[in-house]
Amino acid sequence: MIEAKEINFAYRRGIPVLNDINCKIEDGEFVALIGHNGSGKTTLSRMFMALDHPRSGQILVDGEDIINYEPADLADKVGYVFQNPDLQILADTVYEEIAYGPRVKKLPEENIKTNVKSAIAAMGLKGLEGIYPRNLSFGQKRRLGVAAALALNPRILILDEITNGQDAVEQAAMMEYLKALNEEKGTTVILITHDMNVVRKYARRAIVLTDGHLVFDGKPQELFQGDQPVERWGLRRPVVSVLASRLGLSAANCEEFCEAVRKGGEA
């Protein structure tokens, strides 16, 4: 469980980035952290991993204040996957790359093997264990980044704009792996994204930040279906929601849209 209590933060120049942020993410949730560029979503997520610390307020991980923690102290509780996988690849094989975290944490060799195998299976990298990581495709490298974080068995996974720059197939594959991880293992997923279709399809909760303020915290359906000023917050509704509203219908996803169209036809 991660909780942000009255978080305020500003970088060195003094311009506030986060203002009085309060939110609580329970175990097993699939949360999308969304907002326009510079809204503060990455800053907030970095605080969840102790990469930055708030000027005032508290970040609690499993009820414990992490103000004096370093990211390495949290690595086996929270996994953080950065946007650019190239900046963390250091080993000569996929297997060794994933095994780096458990080795640093000095886990027994047996556990390392089990963790790496499980991470490889979870991210669909089977058969690529002996490959030089830089020879992988961009999508595979992204999955390798997630697998590397998973090798420490974190219960919370934070992914920073993980779907950017991926083709539709790779993106769908990645999201399905994350969905399975969330549903089968109960891993909490916190996804930072600009892709509203991904939010609509996979997230069960959306937290919207704009100019450092938390302006919405609820179900994605409520965000896209209701009267929320989504565009004013710098977001774009998913295509299906826009299409539905143009037809005078109300739908947040394809299923609801089909249902609404069917009902309209019958009427």
């Binding site: 970095r46 190239d86 900046l87 250091l90």
Partner: protein, 224 residues
């Protein structure tokens, strides 16, 4: 009042020579002038941190020299020399655009375009490299890397940050080389930019450079 890039290069080269030929008082005066100039140009935390960092490095140099048996005077003067030489480059970079430096190297010093470009590109890579190193450090920290322990242990463990950075830098330079080649690099580079003319101030500064650089000669003849 802005000095030409050519003048700055000459001054920078001259300062590196002056620290060896001028008396210690003069070198100390140059240091004061450099600090005043740098703080006048940009009195920011970054600038202060850069100067402070150089100060610490100088202190380490002095300490090392002392440890290896040099006298205090020699060690201090050695540290002062190093600091003044480094600050000369910092002054040039803080006051002159990199493109102007490249242009001056090609136009006035007749350096081949490729070499001038290589020099300036290396300088341009520094901020990118620093930015990447921060991200890499964060990424590895999230996987359990911790910069704790004694100095040797910390240095050795830093390999996990250095390695991805080097690979990234190599890949970036390959991409840059390819994109430059595709855009016809070398065919007409820098030739379309107008030549930057020297002003009266430039000539005045160059005259001072000549006077100070010939100090050993006129000292010998004037003060006999």
């Amino acid at each position: 009042m802005k000095l030409n890039a050519f003048t700055w290069i000459i001054v920078t080269l001259a300062v590196t020579a002056w620290v060896f030929i001028l008396p210690v008082e003069a070198v100390a005066t140059i240091l004061v002038l450099q600090l005043v100039l740098l703080l006048y140009i940009k009195r920011s935390k970054t600038m202060l941190a850069a100067i402070g960092g150089l100060g610490v490095f100088t202190g380490m140099m002095i300490l090392l020299q002392l440890l290896f048996g040099s006298s205090l005077r020699v060690s201090l003067f050695g540290g002062l020399r190093m600091l003044v030489m480094t600050l000369a480059f910092l002054c040039m970079l803080a006051t002159t655009r990199i493109q102007s430096i490249a242009k001056a190297l090609v136009d006035r010093f007749h350096l081949p375009v490729e070499y001038a470009f290589m020099l300036t590109t290396a300088l341009r890579f520094v901020p990118n490299f620093l930015e990447d190193s921060e991200i890499t450090l964060d990424a590895q920290s999230c996987r359990g890397y911790s910069n704790r322990g004694n100095v040797l242990k910390r240095l050795l463990s830093y390999v996990v940050v250095i390695r991805p950075l080097v690979m990234r830098a190599v890949s970036k330079s390959e991409t840059l080389a390819l994109s430059m080649e595709l855009r016809g690099f070398g065919a007409n580079t820098y030739k379309n930019m107008p030549k930057e003319q020297l002003t009266v101030v430039d000539f005045a500064v160059l005259a001072v450079v000549v006077v100070l650089s010939t100090y050993p000669f006129w000292k010998k003849f004037l003060f006999v």
